[in-house]
């Protein structure tokens, strides 16, 4: 052996060691297994199974393997260019294989397969039988066939206070028939499953022993499980979250056996069910089986919702151009302006006018409406008001035009397509905003005050306004008298979550989109009474979306553009109206029915004081569990420019919260809690009449 050969040898040794570490492809003879595969009475066809070292090699993407995994509720994660294959069973056990290693782990316990997974082009080849066994499926040779027999693979006996919870985990959904039953002894036969459990085990504690007997042919086995508890015990069959599980609860007399609602007298001792039934599916998750007859459940039907006036909220409030003018001599003078909210929620503006004047009015498509009194001067201060009316957001009366042609303009920002009636009389002009929408809204009209009164309107092309042009102004141009300083800003946007096709979460007879609107409408009333100018992102059962955003996001290359547009539309209602606050109302859900309470979600630091104020005001009156002020990356709190909070009012999945949410009084109380929180946060609002701009 010379030095050259030595070097070759040592390099080869290292390479061999490295290769054995990675072991990408075993060099063994492979041939398809001469057998037919069956699972639960149906034939299972694999794309390219290969018998290998006492197991069967299949590709991860093999359709037969995928079907088998689907039948047992398992999912597989694998991607080329990395080396793990992770399978999650229906009962959340993790089975992990590594390419190049025959060892694999099942819920942390290491076992060994007959061959290591290896790469095959873009796929990876795995040991089928090892996977099946880890999923409680036993491959059994029967004649020339191979039957994958689903089994009861695990038995959990868990003390829980004075009661004992017995849970069986199987490879497949468990269907059972009670074969015999006394309070302390339960015998249940599961059809279609075998068992890998030892036939008899003595348990001790709250359970004496568990017997397992398997019968029937391999292709259609049945397993009878008999659980015996000490004398005097009682039991209850619980509905489980997973259909692959069966749970029975045993305990001494007087101990509540119901796992979800531990009321002392809930257990009847013997389940009232008889005959075959599924052990429970996801829809029935967590509901107690024998705790209470159906008639004892509280009424869970959502309260009917009040009809909401108005349709879609008006889009962003753009600014109306204003040309400041020095009042000079004119044919007419506006000597007084009276703004009154009628009892029906509508609004009257009455102009007292000296002299004769003509006027024209125009309705813009974004909720603005204005009337110009030509050749007239405003005697007295300009007005800029946000009356407490569900019909009108703001009223402005001011001098515009030029010294040569002064004009008095009355401008409304309306909540939707509200009808406006203009009634001229000698010496006055009355503008009445109805608290109702009108389908056939005229877009322009004109008339005369004093002299011969002629009022007309036209739904067709607007007559060109005689004076200041009314082109919608770019948003960069602020109102001349526009948005008040933060402390005087009285605009708040309430966002009733979901709506239209997006129902939100729906369980127990309740639907999120209805509850959020019901609370929001009540909240609007309360806040309006408190002097706020309230805007809702929706007032009816719609999912508001701006067509501009839809097309903008569709073209921005970002997928899922529609969802972005929908939530951004809601944010834009607040952003464009320069709202001071934004509150989004939602209803929560959790798989675990025990989860309950109210959560105040925020994203931006500036949201926190509002969230805390709401928490302090809502929790004491609502009586829900305080789940706290929680930071999250929620869309609407992230993309609003002002303090914003998303309130998850309660859990539609928790029996106690459901009782509350189904109660109209609770919705009112909850809204009152929010309104109180807003007041605590923003302080008492300045009285409306004292609010004037100059």
């Amino acid at each position: 052996m010379n030095h050259f050969r030595v070097r070759i040898f040592s390099a080869a040794l290292v390479l061999a060691l490295m290769a054995s570490e990675l072991a990408f492809a075993p060099a063994r003879a492979q041939s398809p297994p001469a057998t037919t595969f069956w699972f639960a009475g149906t034939r299972l066809i694999f794309d390219s199974p290969v018998a290998l070292d006492g197991d069967v090699a299949v590709a991860v993407r093999d359709s037969g393997l995928q079907r088998l995994l689907a039948r047992v509720g398992a999912s597989i994660s694998y991607e080329p260019q990395q080396r793990y294959i992770v399978i999650t069973s229906a009962d959340r056990r993790i089975i992990s294989f590594t390419v190049g290693d025959a060892r694999y782990a099942v819920a942390g316990v290491v076992a060994s397969a007959s061959f290591a997974p290896f790469f095959d082009g873009n796929d990876v080849i795995v040991p089928l039988y090892a996977i099946a066994r880890a999923l409680y499926v036993q491959p059994i040779a029967a004649g020339g066939d191979t039957v994958f027999e689903p089994q009861i693979g695990a038995l959990d006996v868990r003390p829980d206070g004075r009661r004992t919870i017995v849970t069986l985990h199987a490879a497949t959904a468990l269907k059972y028939v009670k074969t015999s039953e006394t309070p302390e002894r339960l015998s249940v036969t599961f059809s279609g499953v075998g068992s890998a459990l030892s036939p008899n085990r003595h348990i001790g504690g709250g359970i004496d022993d568990v017997d397992v007997a398997v019968s029937g042919p391999v292709k259609n086995p049945a397993s009878t499980v008999t659980i015996t508890a000490p004398k005097g015990a009682q039991h209850l069959i619980a509905v489980t979250a997973s259909p692959y599980d069966f749970t029975a609860v045993f305990g001494p007399p007087g101990v509540a056996l119901d796992l979800d609602a531990p009321s002392p007298n809930a257990a009847s001792g013997v389940s009232g069910t008889s005959g075959g039934m599924a052990a429970g599916g996801p829809a029935a998750a967590g509901a107690p089986v024998a705790a209470a007859p159906p008639s004892a459940t509280p009424p869970l039907v959502a309260s009917p919702l009040p009809a909401a006036p108005g349709g879609q909220p008006p889009p962003a409030v753009a600014t109306v151009p204003q040309t400041e003018a020095t009042p000079q001599s004119g044919a007419a003078s506006v000597t007084g302006v009276a703004v009154d909210v009628r009892s029906d929620g509508g609004l009257d503006v009455r102009l007292s006018i000296d002299g004769t004047a003509t006027y024209d009015w125009h309705r813009l498509r974004d909720g603005r409406w204005y009337l110009d009194v030509a050749d007239s001067k405003l005697r007295g201060p300009a007005r800029d008001e946000r009356p407490i009316s569900p019909a009108v957001e703001s009223v402005r009366v001011r001098q515009i035009g030029s010294p040569d042609a002064p004009v008095v303009r009355v401008a409304f920002t309306l909540h939707g397509d509200r009808r406006v009636d203009v009634t001229p009389a000698d010496g006055s002009l009355t503008l009445s905003v109805a608290n109702a929408d009108d389908n056939d809204l005229a877009r322009t009209g004109n008339g005369q005050i004093g002299g011969a009164t002629v009022a007309s309107s036209s739904a067709q092309s607007p007559a060109g306004p005689p004076l200041a042009p009314i082109a919608p102004q770019p948003e960069t141009t602020p109102w001349k008298f526009g948005p008040p300083a933060a402390d005087g800003n009285r605009t708040i946007v309430i966002d009733p979550g979901h709506g239209g096709d997006d129902a939100g979460t729906a369980h127990n007879g309740l639907v999120e989109k209805e509850l959020t609107l019901a609370i929001s409408l009540r909240l609007r009333t309360l806040l309006t009474q408190a002097g706020w100018n309230v805007r809702l992102t929706r007032e009816t059962d719609i999912d508001p979306v701006s067509p501009e955003l839809l097309s903008a996001f569709a073209g921005d290359g970002r997928p899922n553009s529609s969802d972005r547009a929908y939530l951004q539309t809601r944010c834009d209602v607040a952003n464009a109206s320069n709202a001071r606050l934004f509150i989004s109302i939602h209803v929560n859900y959790a798989d675990a029915t025990s989860v309950r309470g109210t959560t105040f979600y925020y994203t931006k630091p500036q949201d926190v004081p509002l969230a805390q104020a709401l928490e302090r005001s809502v929790i004491p009156v609502a009586g829900t569990q305080d789940d706290g002020v929680v930071k999250s990356n929620l869309y609407v709190t992230k993309h609003t420019n002002m303090p914003a909070v998303l309130i998850e009012t309660g859990f539609i999945s928790n029996p106690g919260d459901v009782r509350l949410l189904a109660d109209r009084n609770f919705l009112q109380t909850f809204a009152a809690g929010i309104a109180a929180g807003v007041k605590a946060y923003a302080g008492a609002l300045p009285a409306m009449s004292s609010k004037t701009d100059q």
Partner: protein, 169 residues
């Protein structure tokens, strides 16, 4: 004998080289045979760490994949936790500097039923993949669903437009 001494030397050399290679390979990943995976308690906010054993593969992409798959599976079924919907699995994973991009299967959309589940699930994913011992240098997680970038889950609340970091929670 000269030949025997040589063979002994060669074997010793090979052992040293292999040992060095093995140590370097291991150190690449912060060492450990296990990684920390987090789940979120049913309060929706509390992260609970648990340890899972790594297989022999320690390259960053394999470890990221393994960690993500473990989060989706969650802790054993007797532990109360906010869980990703059954069937949610990792479709693909990419490492791009300090960001790991995880492509989740569409089943994750079932968790769009409220702020709690979405917040809790993505929090556990982000905490797990940004654990400095698991993937050194990674501090952000970008989520895709069924291969596409999304603003939120359909009908969801949680914004998935931007990479997520621990500071988002």
């Amino acid at each position: 004998m000269r030949a025997q001494r040589l063979i002994a030397l060669i074997v010793a050399l090979a052992v040293v080289i292999f040992g060095a290679w093995w140590v370097i390979k291991k150190r690449h990943h912060g060492g450990g045979d296990s990684i920390v995976v987090y789940y979120t308690k049913t309060d929706g906010t509390t992260e609970v760490p648990w340890r899972v054993t790594l297989g022999p593969a320690r390259d960053p992409k394999s470890v990221a994949f393994y960690a993500a798959a473990q989060v989706l599976a969650g802790p054993s079924s007797d532990i109360e936790a906010i869980r990703f919907p059954a069937g949610t699995h990792v479709r693909a994973i990419e490492l791009d500097g300090s960001t790991v991009e995880v492509d989740l299967s569409g089943e994750v959309g079932k968790s769009a039923e409220g702020g709690l589940s979405e917040t809790a699930e993505f929090k556990s994913l982000v905490w797990t993949l940004t654990d400095p011992k698991t993937l050194p240098g990674v501090d952000a997680v970008r989520v895709r669903v069924d291969g596409t970038r999304v603003a939120t889950l359909p009908g969801g609340h949680f914004e998935l437009d931007e990479p997520l970091s621990r500071s988002n929670f």
